[in-house]
Every structure is written in C-alpha cells, then in structure tokens.
Amino acid sequence: MPKTEIDLPYRVEYLSILDPDGQVDASLDPSLPDELLLKLYRGMVLGRKFDERMLILQRQGKIGTFAPVKGQEAQVAVTAAMEENDWLVPSFRETPAEIWRGRPMESVLLLYSGYNEGGRAPEGIRTLPVSVPVGSQTLHGAGIGYAMKYRGEKSVAVTFFGDGATSEGDFHEAMNFAAVFQVPTVFVCQNNHWAISIPRSRQTHSKTIAQKALAYDMPGLQVDGNDVLAVYQASRDAISRARSGGGPAFLELITYRMSLHTTADDPKKYRSEEEVQEWIKRDPITRFEKYLRDKDLLSDEKIQSIAAEVQAEISAAEGRWSAFVEKGVDPLDMFEWPYAQMPPDLVEQREELRRELEAKRGKVEKDTLVRD
C-alpha cells in the first residue's frame, strides 16, 4: 500500500579516528596540542591505576563496594573538552572524569569506605556528586542547562549515564525537556554493552542508542568510545554547539566494561571470557600509547615516569585518606546534614544518640551488661 513518505532528514553517523591498532585516520585527526595529548594520556593512566588500586583496597576490606571503570577511561576526553565553568553531572562510573575536573582521589576513597564526607566536593567545583539511581541525574543536567541559558551564562551541562539508563523514563523526559527548551546540555551515554547482567542487545530493541535522539529532533552521534581522539572531537563539537545556542546533543560512546559491574558482581555468570578478550584488544589506553609513540610524545622512559608520578599521586591521596580515617569521625555529625537549619526533632534525636554513645562508653569501661 503506497503511503507518503515524510521528509525526516536525520541520520546517525559513527565517528572513529584512532583505530584499535593505534592507526589514525589522518584526515580526521584533530591534531591536538602535545600538552593536551599527554594530559589525556595521563588522565587515562591515572583512571586505570586508581581503579586497580581501589580493587585491591576493596579486596583487602579497606573500602566497600564500588564500580570499576576499567576500559572506559577515554571518558576523560569529554571533560577535557569542557570548560571550568561547565557543569559535570555524573552517574557512578565517571571517576576519571570527576578527578579530571578536580575531585580529589581521597574524596573518592572516603565515599567508598563509607564516609559521608566523600560527598563533600571542594567548594566552587561545578561537579555534582555521584548519582546512584540510574538515569535520574540526566534531568538535573537538563535543568542546569535551563538555568545557564536563563542566566545568559555561556556554560554547558554535560551529563553521563550508561546504556541501561536509556531504558528509564527519566532519560526520555530529560531528552524531551532539553530539546523543547533547547538548553545547552550534552547527553553522554557510555554504552559499555552491559547493565549488570543485561547485554545491550536486550536492553533495547534499537540498532543504535544514538538513534534515540531522533525522537527529539536532537543530533545523535555514535562514537568509538575507546578512541580518545574521537571522543574529544565529538564532545568538543557538541559542547561548543550547545554553548553557542545550538541546543542539546546526544553522544553514544561505544565502549566496554572490562571489569566487574561492581565489586559485588560476578560477570562469569553472564558473559564469556572471549568477549572480554575481544574488547581488551580495543583497549583505549594501548592504542593511544601507540599513537603517542608514533608522534614521539611517548617513550618507554616517559611511560615509566608518568606511571611513577601517577602512583605517587595515588599514594599521596591514600595517605590523606588514611589520616582522615585514623582521626575518626563523630557519629553525631549526621544530624547536621539534612537541613540548612536543624529542626527540633533532630536536635532531640541527636541528644538521644549522644546519651546512648556516652552510656555505651560507660558500659564498655565497666565491661557490663548489654553489648551492641
């Protein structure tokens, strides 16, 4: 039955610049300054090594559950394309990106070792705290974009989320609001192929995630998310477009969660070792190393020295973290946080806990009766 075709001039493209073997498409190479290239490399190495260190700390019982980021370190290219006054609205797998934007590593360690103090970022940094409820933070990214536009600030909000997050209604509502109000918000989907045990193919029926942007007449681009040059290029385009009033954009970064979902997860239950091996060949760091070597920006010595520097930084952060842990915290602090001004109920409840803690100390000293 013949019908009229509606003219919808949308298409979804795929951007790749540096291939898994480290071969660059010269015509696409953004030719970034050496300094930036090395900074990107360093950011990725830091992300990898900090992740490895945290896994050890977790296995030693020194920190609790966290979400490893291994394989997704090219995310730093997104933050590299941002300006200081832009807003980062992360999910929970953006540790390298958060660090890039100034979050101290000890803050990350504090969070994952069960201290609420891990949520107190340094003043003045436009990075929101980790958001655990999947997809929900995308709306904050849209709302912040609205505020920037309303204030006439030339700042952009960049929000991260996973492939799984695109199934949540909040994601859809955020895309719709962003498009209707044409806010300067860039949506960055880290399609790492898994949402815990659910593969991308069973998360949604569409061939690409990028095409979901077409539902809002928003530009959607698929990017090799393990190609730091492509990620940078695509992010810079989307961010500068948004900054200059061009509205929101959507990026699907094709990457892979090489490690566990979280340290409580056992991926052997649901995915094959072969698949993981396939993706290890597409490691974002190895191919970038090759590119930088080819450009004579890296050598064995340089790699060693960067690794050493990074290790030292991590150790220093661990030191600050240990000092904090050593010092200990006051449980009574918890009553200070919920409201700008403590309501009478919480004043009373704090007093209850204070008395309890004192009584317990008394009991412990006298080694009597009731334990806890």
């Binding site: 705290p129 409820p133 904050h140 709302g143 309303y150 009478p344």
Partner: protein, 326 residues
C-alpha cells in the same frame, strides 16, 4: 487589608516573590498561558514572560528533576504538580535527590525548590484528583511538608517556602481555594515553616487539624461551644514535617484530651504521629484515648460518596463529645 481567597493569596505570594527575586521561576503543566487549571498562576506569564513562567511538557518526574537542576544551579524554582495525585510520578526525584542533596554533599549543595500541588477532596472531581497523602512526603527526611489552611497562612507560608534553603512540598487544600475570603496584607508577611498555630483557644479538649479539615473542625468547635458549652482548643499544624509538637503537646497538658482530624486515610496517617508525640510528651496528662477522625483506609470514592468518606462537622463533633465523655 484586602480580602482574598486562597487562589488570590497564593497568586500574590508568587507575584511578589518573583518581583523581588529574579531567581524565582515557576514551571509546570499549564501554569503559563492557561494560568493553571485552578488559575493560581493567572496573569504571571504576561507579567514575567515565558522564561520565568514555564509551560512544560507533560512529565512530572521531569518537572521535579528539572527543578532540582535549576535549584542546584542557583535558581529558586517553584514547580507545580497539577494535582497531588500525579506527584507520585515525581516521587523518586524528590526522594532520591531533592531530599538528599544537602545531606549527600554535607551541606555544600542545597535544593531550594518548592513543589506546589493542590490536594484533597470535596470538589467533586475525577479519580486521582481528591487524595490526601501528605505522609509520603512527611516521612521523607530532608523534605519539609507544609499545608496551609487559609488564604493568609497560604500566602505567608508560601513566601517562607520560596525563601527556604531546603526543598518544601506545599500542598494546597483545593476545597479551600475559593471557599472563603480572608484579609491578607499587601505588605510582606511570612510564617515560619516548622511552627503550628493556635486557631482557637479553649480549655476542655485539644483538637489538632490542618488543611481543608480546619474549617469543619472550627465549625464543630463553634457549634459545641454554642450549644453545649464545650470549649475546644484548636491547633492548626500548618507544617506537617518537621512537626511542631510543642504547641499541641502543651495544649494537651492543659486540656488532658485530644482529637486529631485529617482527611487522609487513617492508618499510618499523620494523626498517628500526633498521637505518638502526645504519648511521648504528655502521657501523664492524657485522660482519654486520642481519637483519630480521618478518611477511611480506602481510596476516596467518587463524588456521590465522598462526603461520607471525608470527616465532617458531625463526625468531628461526635468524636470530641465522646472523648470528653470517656
């Protein structure tokens, strides 16, 4: 002082705060061109323009989440849920983020937003348009839950809510919207969130109520006084959470008896908390069980039966009398 109904009083509060502070932004479904389905925001679009009075797409979670983003970035959004019955679409945004952001960041990031919603029965509306479920919000730490009862308290409390550094859920008793007028000063007036007020002084029994139920409560009190000489002391909660238990527990220390009135379902309703506080703080003064005069534990029926569901003067007066006779 000009006399206003609650719709006008809320409209004035919004207008004046928007005039004072350009970070105050209204958003919601039909709040702009249409002036809101109850006309609460009438005229504000023309006065402040579409950037500040924002007609949004139809999505409550987005309205809340967008507001959270705005508030984080320094604005003071006042968002509207067209009816409280649809605010649950936004529940996870309020629970997961609005209520927690300050705690999550140890005070670094606040969410100074107001979520307004008409609530409650008595207006012969369709399903989902008559509920009273303030406890959902009151039981959520980090939020404040406010329910004014009159035009003047609505105006003063809304101004306080807009200026509050923390998120406030503001339920407007739609049965009161146009039910009566009250003098409301043109000049600035605020009322502290977290404080209740004495709506009527009396010595025989304390009746605790709020929102749309305050009127039948006061009517019952007045009839009981006129016809039987019973003097009720009536406490209007105004803020449900954090709950001000000082006024009513002290009142009961004087009267020895109490009745609590709300239209929400009884079980796990706000009345239970009032009783628990009374037991906690005025136990030795209690001379009779505290009766809860409330809606029943079912969804408020459609309008042919809603007056049988809602507490009315008769039900309230009977409970007061029976409590006094205990």
């Amino acid at each position: 002082m000009p006399k206003m109904n609650m719709v006008q009083a809320i409209n004035m509060a919004l207008r004046q705060e928007m005039e004072k502070d350009d970070s105050v932004i209204l958003l919601g479904e039909d709040v702009g061109r249409d002036g809101g389905v109850f006309r609460v925001t009438d005229g504000l679009l023309d006065k402040f323009g579409p950037e500040r009075v924002v007609d949004t797409p139809l999505a409550e979670s987005a309205i809340a989440g967008f507001s959270i983003g705005m508030a984080i970035a320094g604005l003071r959004p006042v968002c509207e849920m067209q009816f409280s019955g649809f605010s649950y679409f936004a529940f996870h945004q309020m629970e997961s983020h609005a209520s927690r952001m300050r705690q999550r960041t140890l005070g670094r990031v606040g969410v100074p937003m107001v979520m307004r919603a008409p609530y409650g029965g008595g207006v012969r509306a369709l399903e989902h348009h008559s509920e009273s479920r303030e406890v959902y919000w009151a039981h959520t730490p980090g939020l404040k839950m406010v329910i004014p009862s009159t035009p003047r308290t609505a105006r003063a409390l809304l101004v306080s809510a807009i200026r509050d550094p923390d998120p406030v859920v503001f339920y407007e008793p739609k049965a009161v919207y146009r039910a009566f007028r009250e003098e409301v000063p043109e000049e600035e007036e605020t009322f502290p969130i977290g404080k209740s007020r004495l709506a009527l002084e009396g010595k025989d029994i304390t009746v605790i109520s709020y929102g749309a139920m305050l009127r039948p409560t006061l009517e019952a009190a007045s009839e009981l006084k006129d016809k039987e000489g019973i003097e009720c002391e009536v406490v209007d909660l105004l803020t449900i959470s954090p709950l001000d238990d000082k006024l009513f527990t002290e009142s009961v220390r004087k009267t020895g008896r109490a009745v609590v009135v709300h239209e929400a379902p009884r079980s796990f309703g706000a009345g239970a908390e009032v009783v628990a506080r009374l037991v906690d703080k005025s136990f030795l003064y209690l001379e009779a069980p505290v009766r809860r005069v409330t809606g029943f534990d079912l969804v408020i029926p459609y309008y042919q039966r809603e007056q049988d569901y809602l507490p009315g003067v008769f039900r309230i007066a009977t409970a007061i009398r029976e409590t006094l006779e205990f």
